[in-house]
Symmetry: C2
Subunit: 291 residues, 2 copies
């Protein structure tokens, strides 16, 4: 049994990708251009963090692998739509052209729609007992709806236009909805696949919330560190800038302190889980990562 | 008991709309602009044909009403995305500004995403026994995926760029996928809500397929008749034009003959259903309608 997250995920990432390959229609099937675009979006070198969390929390079963693949389809839909010209207007993702650049805008819109439809439909068909599949759809559907991911995306767009009157609350809320909610759902979905108790589900939710925070604070800190290096600016300048980020609002030192506290809370929730060593290594990685 | 579709739907349309109102988040809830846009899209004076078909085939139960509302949310998502500048680029729908005109493009993309998510999630929560909710999601998910509605939309976009080598087959296929599939699913979903047998499901599917065809042939014929009047062109000229329509490919007379044949087949399937009189009146309306 591997004890590091790196070696554990090296084993399970290809199995997640095999599930994705099985779920996606073949490119030979009509409409070919659309089916090609789906695969362009999904097989783009992602780290597969969300499905791996589902598999890790879901005792590595085939059902958890399939559920994880659904989450990855849904995460990919959100990236394809976020990249569109009307939203973030990104030409590249992980060094490759985004779907609307590699194909066209209409195809990108329909690609996102297709991935969302396929992800939710496949969740509903999970082989789980006593309405488990329906609960899986409810869990993920709430996480990505207007009270979750889409709502966070909308509030983020609005915050760009008008600086929020309570920036700390807005920062917390936008991240919790925009990226946190689906991460939490990924972890809880794994628990649902193995039929955990309500107490265990609560623990997984609390763990997932902290994973989301560690990701976000880490991204924001890396952004400042990267900027400091490449532009020669001091961290202090970035911290004083008007960007809605943890270092921007709290400063770099306080952000690092916050990250450490959240890390400790996450370790506490993970300590009694099966595969606790893998969890610990993953949480350490989230704090130490450099990209 | 009303015996005409008009009086029957006058009773059930408000009940469908009450379900929609209950399912949609209140505009007071954040993000308000998004929740407003959802209601702008959904409460736009639609005829609610799809949910009414679900209710009619579903013995008018509360569950069928809810299922029908889900179908209407999903139908509305498809309209909002189809109207986008990158797709059909429509500024008006039923005389009102489309979502991307009334709000903006980003909001319209997220509105469609939200309606699709809410529609599929709510289907998964239908109070049906023995995995019925999961089958409801599978039924609708297939109808609207890349092998259904989205696939038809993609093929339609491609046919606009390149005239298909087999136009008759392309016409049939595009309509079957783009508009037919969700209509068929609407009818079958009603059956599923009341637990019909496999034979009855087949009958409902065959009926739904013919309803889809009657809609489409009727739309195409109305288009030509409207054009003949407004532009003073002869029907023969339109029939010879290169538009991928029934009159365009088969001529107006042959299209009317085809419509009569499909009408007779549909009446046959509806004859033994509960509420056969309402079905008959609805099918007659589809043939006789003037708008």
């Amino acid at each position: 049994m591997p004890s590091s997250f790196a070696s554990w995920s090296a084993e399970f990432r290809p199995r997640v990708e095999a599930e994705l390959d099985e779920l996606l229609p073949a490119v030979e099937e009509s409409p070919r251009r659309l089916h090609e675009a789906l695969r362009h979006a999904v097989f783009a070198g992602g780290k597969r963090v969300r499905p791996l969390l589902t598999v890790l929390a879901g005792a590595e079963t085939r059902t958890a692998l399939r559920a994880g693949a659904c989450v990855e389809l849904i995460h990919t839909y959100s990236l394809v739509h976020d990249d569109l010209p009307a939203l973030d207007d990104d030409d590249l993702r992980r060094g490759r052209p985004t779907v609307h650049r590699a194909y066209d805008e209409a195809t990108a819109i329909l690609t996102g729609d297709s991935l969302l439809t396929l992800g939710l439909s496949t969740l509903a068909a999970l082989p789980l007992e006593s309405a488990g599949a329906a609960r899986a759809v409810a869990l993920v559907g709430e996480a990505i709806g207007t009270r979750g991911m889409i709502g966070g995306q909308m509030e983020d767009l609005e915050a760009e236009k008008n600086w929020p009157s309570e920036p700390e609350a807005a920062l917390e809320r936008i991240h919790r909805l925009k990226t946190g909610a689906l991460l939490v759902a990924s972890v809880r979905l794994g628990g649902l696949c193995q039929g955990v108790s309500e107490a265990e589900d609560t623990r997984l939710r609390e763990l997932g919330e902290r994973v989301g925070l560690l990701f976000q604070i880490g991204d924001d800190i890396l952004d400042v560190e990267g900027t400091s290096e490449s532009l020669g600016k001091t961290a202090g300048k970035d911290a004083a800038s008007e960007k809605l980020t943890y270092p921007g609002l709290y400063g770099l030192d306080e952000s690092r302190r916050l990250r450490s506290a959240v890390h400790a809370e996450a370790l506490d929730r993970a300590a009694t889980l099966p595969q606790a060593e893998i969890w610990r290594d993953f949480l350490d990685f989230l704090v130490e990562r450099s990209s």
